[in-house]
């Protein structure tokens, strides 16, 4: 099993970057030419939403093996669920993939904040709406994945101790039953 030096999932990595970059490029470049706020808004927000969905459902799963979502349980309380791969799989994940994932995840809102400042300076407050939506979606993904990663680490630790304990218990059992 050869460890590849390149991205293990180039297509996914490509898509996860594509929408972010497309949204930014569209907003910055095209918006300077098109004066129609509605079109700019709809397309940018659409691209940002597409990116959010892709990162949450596809990239996160494939590139770093994490997934988060929210459920409402029987008592009507909201429960955040996190899911992650096993430790062995996590280690096997391609380093480049995860580097790309996390970097783009954290970098995007920074860029959007900068664009927001530009929008304020140019006194085009409508565009702040666009920036606002983009920021909210990026922030949601960041929070979700960061929590998920922490939770994964915690789970692995817990699991390790639990495994050790159960192994210990079973050896004790066999020792005593003999």
């Amino acid at each position: 099993m050869a460890e590849e030096e390149n991205y293990a999932n180039p297509l996914t990595a490509f898509f996860s970057v594509l929408f972010k970059v497309a949204a930014l490029v569209f907003y910055i470049v095209v918006a300077s030419f098109i004066d129609n706020f509605v079109i700019v808004f709809v397309i940018t927000v659409f691209l940002v939403a597409l990116d959010f969905w892709t990162v949450k459902n596809v990239s996160g799963r494939i590139l770093v093996g994490l997934r988060w979502w929210n459920e409402i349980n029987e008592d009507g309380e909201s429960v955040w669920r996190f899911e992650s791969l096993e430790q062995q799989e996590l280690d096997r994940l391609n380093k480049k993939d995860s580097w790309l994932f996390w970097w783009t995840l954290y970098l995007t809102p920074v860029v959007w904040v900068a664009l927001g400042i530009v929008a304020i300076v140019r006194v085009k407050l409508d565009y702040l709406l666009v920036v606002g939506v983009a920021l909210v979606l990026s922030a949601a993904n960041i929070i979700g994945f960061t929590k998920c990663r922490k939770d994964a680490k915690k789970q692995i630790q817990q699991f390790a101790t639990q495994t050790v304990a159960s192994q210990f218990a079973s050896t004790l059992q066999t020792a005593f039953s003999v």
Binding site: M1, A2, E3, E4, A8, N9, N36, F37, V38, F41, V42, V45, A49, W53, N57, V58, R61, I62, G65, L66, R67, W69, N70, E71, I72, N73, E74, G76, E77, S78, V79, R81, F82, E83, S84, L85, E86, Q87, Q88, E89, R92, L93, N94, D126, L129, D151, A152, Q155, I156, F159, Q162, T163, S166, Q167
Partner: protein, 270 residues
């Protein structure tokens, strides 16, 4: 240590809880198997299956372990990188062979289901908590955008302003209304309420669309009125059951107000 001897075929829903626990014991024994689903993963089950633990590092869904072992020896890259196992309302144990379509389809189905539950009469209305259990914000997102687009396109001047105003009013209004319910001591969850208020915009969307067709004021008034009543009717049970009896009016009134103002926006557009 040998591989897991779980050879029994499994039903996705009923067995999953038991097998989940068993898999936790087996995981330590067997190499990290990767689930490769058979064709039985249609999408999420009809109701969410709740698991005893909150989150589990699931790598192997207890699928027939033969296929699991085969894929564990495959390359780390590529599609078999092991999607997280899934139970209930979360991601599917399906598959990375068709990740995008399955996930996409599941989300689309979810939007449709939520829409049907909220806006159309159905037996679940008596139990609002259950009806919107799987909230999602995609539906509301699309509805708001659609409404703003429709209103903006039919406006003769200031199109972008109309769009921005409608969008801002609706999103801010939804957030404020949710906070209102929560501050009144209501027991609704933030996102659930946002999702609900968004879905109830659907009738107004239809109304706005229909209003594009004809220009007569009378026609539009009737259409707006009908859709307004429909929206309020859909929103009412959810909001009213969330707050204590004495505060019902306080919670419901702003919702009605919001929809009435949107109705006016639709009406006044020419």
């Amino acid at each position: 240590m040998s591989r897991s001897s779980e050879k029994t075929p499994l039903h996705p829903t009923s067995q999953s809880d038991i097998d989940e626990i068993e898999s936790l014991f087996n995981i330590s024994v067997q190499p990290a198997t990767i689930e490769v689903p058979t064709s039985t993963a249609p999408g999420k089950p009809a109701t969410t299956v709740h698991h005893p633990q909150v989150s589990i590092p699931v790598s192997s869904d207890p699928r027939p372990s033969g296929s699991g072992n085969a894929s564990s020896s495959s390359a780390a890259g590529g599609g078999a990188a092991g999607g997280p196992g899934a139970f209930g309302g979360g991601p599917e144990y399906s598959t990375l062979t068709e990740p995008v379509w399955h996930t996409l389809k599941r989300d689309v189905v979810r939007v449709a289901t939520n829409l049907r539950h909220v806006v159309f009469p159905n037996p679940y209305r008596e139990d609002p908590g259950k009806a919107l259990r799987d909230w999602d914000l995609w539906g509301p997102f699309f509805f708001i955008i659609f409404l703003a687009l429709t209103l903006s396109s039919s406006a003769t001047e200031n199109k972008s302003k109309v769009f921005a105003v409608v969008f801002a009013v609706l999103s801010a209004g939804a957030i404020v209304l949710t906070l209102n319910v929560q501050l009144l001591g209501g027991s609704i969850i933030f996102f659930q309420s946002l999702s609900l208020l968004g879905y109830c915009l659907f009738p107004l969307d239809i109304g706005a669309l229909v209003c594009l067709l004809r220009d007569s004021k009378l026609f539009r008034s009737i259409v707006v009125l009908v859709t307004l009543v429909w929206s309020s009717w859909s929103a009412y049970p959810f909001v009213s059951t969330a707050v204590p009896q004495s505060r019902k009016a306080l919670a419901v009134y702003p919702v009605l107000l919001l929809y009435i103002s949107v109705g006016f926006l639709v009406l006044a557009n020419d």
